[in-house]
Amino acid sequence: MTAGTLDRPRQRRSKPWPETWVAAAFVAPAALVILLVVVVPLVRAAWMSLFDIELTSPGVEPFVGLRNYVTQLTSADFWDSVSKALFFTGVTTALELSLGLGLAMLMDQPMRFRWLLRSIVILPWALPTIVNALMWRWIDNGTYGSLNALLAQTGVIHDYVPWLSQDSTAMWMVVLADVWKMTPFCAILILAGLQGIDRELFEAARVDGAGSRQIFRRIIVPLLTPIILVVLVLRTMEAFKVFDIIWIMTGGGPANATQTVAIYAYRTAYQSYDFGQGAALGYLIAIFIMLLAAVYLKLLRRTGA
């Protein structure tokens, strides 16, 4: 059909439709896959969080409104575990992102044996968390750990240090294990993002007299921002919910020094049969993560503008 007066109203009527319908068709499969499985448990957990559901009193499940939430929000143990989780999240995401960015830049440089680095670098990430955690438990051991052996043989320390038994060092050892495992994750996702940047921009900038540092600040960082933000949010979510690696390495000890909020939730809810509290804690964790994500977006918008 050719352009003409007939065509115009038709276009006006149908123009917004195709895009919306196309979008619906594109999004629908993902929505189905996500929502079919998750919606029922999400709603059920929200519902459960409003009841006093203790497995040890079957049949007695009174509606308590927001009392489970109030109980937790007024509990010192809860806030203590939240602060541990925030510390873990802050330190690990900062280290993983900055080291990951550096590693990605390195893997992006044309040099020999780059393929080796690019293949080997995922080893820590590929190692199942259970093995990773038990490996670091052994390495950090105060009697026969290889970290102590290395530091003692190189003269850095004189006496073996019980890394996981001191409340001053235990959290840092857990952070080390997590950073070792997840830095490659950040590096590989950022490396992929770097490939999307037009290399000729670098050349052009260089010709215009820009140094490497300026290229990094003016071209790479702004263009990578969307990917870095996504990686940041993903790592924050995972770090705030961290469970397996800490549970296996320290069990939350010594004296709750590494008891993050997910471990606290497991202890108070799952181990103690208190599913109402467990569901409420789950939602509180989700709310904290959303708040963190909102803070990122805000900071980003401010620096971006």
Binding site: I34, F113, P124, L234
Partner: protein, 310 residues
Amino acid sequence: MTIDRTTISGTDGRAHASRVPARRKPITPGRVARAMFLYAGMVIALVVVVAPFSWLVISSVADKADLLTKPLEWIPAHISFGRFVDLTVGSSADETAQGFRAAIMNSMLIASATTAVGMVVGTLAAYAFARLRFPGRSWMILAFMATTMLPPIALILPLFQIMKALGLTDTPLALIIIYSSFVTPYVVWLMRGYIETIPRELDDAGRVDGCSRLGVLWRVIIPVATPGLLSTALLAFLLAWDEFLYALVITQSNASKTLPVALNDFIGRYGVDFGRLATGGVIAAIPPVLIAFAFQRHIVAGLTAGSVKG
């Protein structure tokens, strides 16, 4: 193609001119220093990555007693690959080893299927979120992401009930369904990020050439976004490869046990068979590393393809 030239308009000629001599630049002290800096960085990165892992490898081939000397002897006195033999081709009477072998196959199936489902539906949605304008665009992607914000502990019981009601407990299908739903939001987010770094003009050019939206995604976006696509696929695969809590609750037998659950079986009530666990860990890390090895050339694909121009 004209579009991308506009982004670097005016510098094109000079950039082109400067590149040819750049390839044959004479060796200067500055360039040597830069190369040394880069290779030093590579060596450090390799050492940091490999050192803890090599301790795992040592533990997998050593007698436990040889790991307990003080000062520590890094090369154990007795080296034996017996544990690798036991776990891979050992006797079928060893039920833990049998379970481990079944778990590798289950995990391969579950992680591959999860990756396939997640990547297909996730990339489609990501394209829509990145490029199409439609009502609910901004809140819908947040809603997708929000589903992954609850910790597994809060969801595990209802999920178990659903799978039991559907008669799917102890099947790989149950885990494929669960993992797909948790991996998809990640794929949507990441792929949207990668697609957004691709200049929109490319889409328009494709549209002008008569491609449908799907055609643009398939012919234009996916080839350009290959590095992002592969990295995201790796993420999807490893999420399913490493997940523990859901697998623990849903699986009951070798019919569906995954690797992390099988590895957890090496941990007794009071005792960890560390040598065997280390062996299992080394074996479990091999498939993802092979995948990464196969992928790593293609992660460069966008780069090489880009520099071919000219």
